[in-house]
């Protein structure tokens, strides 16, 4: 087993689907490295929504998230020849995007402007909203907006590092190992940050959750 495969197994041990995903990504990456620029479009289409979602939850601003996601794709394209496959492509891409977001948030620490995306009434979201409201309530949309605002406020009260861990684990569904790979820290640090961030969020969202 090669070193690259061992490194991949270390982060993707919990999910075989991620392993297949990483393999298909690596094939695309090799095509881009070989000169097939159009192959990078496949990677963009595959990861643009997820990357945008992570950056949006970090910044709480759709325009900033859009800019940061575009910059991350451009940087990844420019540096694609340096990608050796020691980690999954999406963790590498996330790392580029999150580093850009951290730099952006540190630069604009005093400027906070929230712009929310529309909350799509999907199954899970509907179930949660139904738990919080009466199904036939006339002010359902107002309650959804209030919930969005409260969630974003609670996330913005976290530090950047804690917000990153919560976003990647609870919203994007990455494992602790993958978050450690993206954030460049140990798995223990990830768990510690996640525990602390959840405590803070529970205190902030106490009226909406079952403690």
């Amino acid at each position: 087993m090669s070193i690259t495969t061992k490194a991949l197994d270390k982060t993707l041990v919990a999910s075989p689907e991620r392993r297949q995903e990483a393999d298909s990504d690596m094939q695309l990456v090799k095509r881009v490295q070989a000169g097939d620029v159009a192959a990078f479009d496949g990677l963009i289409l595959k990861y643009r929504e997820r990357l945008f979602g992570v950056l949006y939850n970090l910044t709480s601003n759709r325009e900033d998230a859009s800019d940061l996601a575009q910059e991350a794709f451009i940087k990844a394209f420019q540096s694609i020849n340096r990608f050796q496959g020691q980690s999954a492509f999406f963790t590498w891409l996330y790392r580029i995007g999150i580093n850009g977001a951290l730099t952006h948030l540190r630069k604009n620490r005093l400027r906070s402007f929230f712009s929310f995306e529309k909350l799509h009434d999907e199954d899970h979201a509907s179930e949660i909203i139904n738990q919080l409201t009466d199904k036939k309530s006339a002010d359902r949309s107002a309650i959804i907006s209030e919930l969005q605002e409260k969630l974003n406020e609670a996330l913005q009260k976290l530090s950047i590092k804690h917000r990153t861990v919560v976003t990647l684990h609870e919203i994007d569904g990455l494992s602790h190992e993958e978050i450690a790979e993206v954030a460049g820290c140990s798995v223990g640090t990830v768990r510690s940050r996640l525990h602390y961030a959840k405590q803070l969020l529970q205190a902030e969202l106490k009226p909406y959750i079952n403690a």
Binding site: R48, E71, L132
Partner: protein, 308 residues
């Protein structure tokens, strides 16, 4: 909204998962893609900054940073250590003088040695060399080795001859004059000290400028003459032995005033300066002044006031 005590409330994880449903409209992705193409093209044709090469080089050299830094630190330490050895101050050589009224030996060699500022002159070898013999005023001096009971004035006297320009010739002439083999024993024991040289230089300068002042100040260096009639016509620098009575010098009113001025002025100035510094410190540390300084700042509401 239901009451907060409702048992049907979601967990924190479920509530956070609601954020997954926050997604932009499909039109947003069209705009996103067009902007991405434009920026990608701009980034491709945009010339790279000149420092990007250095950044890439530094990235490549990053793994070697620690050993290279350690080696540089070691090299710097070695250079500093060696520099410390190089900068060791060597005392300028001077020639111990024990002179008599005899013939001058090896004057040219002595002068050349002093000019080169080399190590101590091997007077014994000079004494053995063939020389020309002249009759000249001689520098009569006592050495520490010759008479260990000599005072400070006598101890510094041997080096005076180096720094008196007008006496250089005669001093060096008298330097080796008549040096006998038995007189040179113990010459190496004479201590070399830069401070002695500087003191001697200053003394010689003062001596040449105002001989009367030093005589009045009690310095045992005086112009004297040897008993020889020929040598008596030329002045020589002599250091009086301890057991010899210091030469009586007439203290004129002018000399007395000058001496008093020399002795009193530095002490007076230093005393005045010390008193001024103490007074300034006392004023600065005065409690009233500190209290007044602190009261100049006022903080009221959102305003900061300073009173002058």
């Amino acid at each position: 909204m239901k009451s907060p005590s409702s048992p049907g409330k979601p967990t924190l994880e479920s509530l956070l998962r609601v954020k997954r449903a926050e997604r932009p409209e499909p039109e947003f992705w069209q705009q996103f893609e067009s902007e991405l193409r434009r920026r990608q093209l701009a980034a491709t044709i945009e010339p790279k900054p000149w420092w990007l090469g250095f950044a890439a080089l530094s990235r490549k050299a990053a793994p070697f940073g620690m050993p290279v830094g350690a080696a540089a630190a070691l090299a710097l330490a070695a250079v500093v250590y060696q520099t410390g050895n190089w900068t060791t101050v060597e005392a300028p050589a001077y020639i111990p003088v024990v002179a008599s009224n005899n013939s001058v030996q090896n004057v040219s060699q002595v002068v050349a040695t002093v000019a080169d500022n080399s190590d101590r002159v091997d007077v014994k070898s000079m004494a053995a060399a063939p020389v020309e013999t002249i009759e000249a005023p001689v520098l009569v001096a006592s050495t520490e080795s010759a008479n260990p009971e000599l005072g400070n004035n006598e101890k510094i006297s041997p080096v005076v001859s180096e720094y008196i320009p007008e006496l250089q010739d005669t001093a060096f002439a008298s330097l080796s004059a008549g040096l006998q083999q038995d007189e040179l024993v113990g010459m190496d024991a004479i201590e070399q000290s830069p401070s002695k040289h500087y003191i001697a230089y200053n003394l010689a300068t003062a001596r040449s400028n105002n001989p009367e002042l030093l005589s009045t100040a009690g310095m045992n260096l005086s112009l004297s003459s040897t008993g020889d009639d020929q040598a008596a016509s030329s002045p020589v620098l002599a250091a009086a032995p301890v057991n010899q009575e210091p030469e009586k010098v007439e203290v004129t009113p002018r000399n007395a005033r000058l001496l008093a001025l020399v002795n009193a002025t530095p002490q007076t100035e230093s005393a005045v300066v010390s008193a001024n510094i103490a007074r300034e410190q006392a004023v600065r540390l005065n409690d009233d002044v500190l209290y007044a300084s602190a009261n100049r700042l006022g903080l009221g509401g959102d305003r900061l006031s300073i009173s002058f």
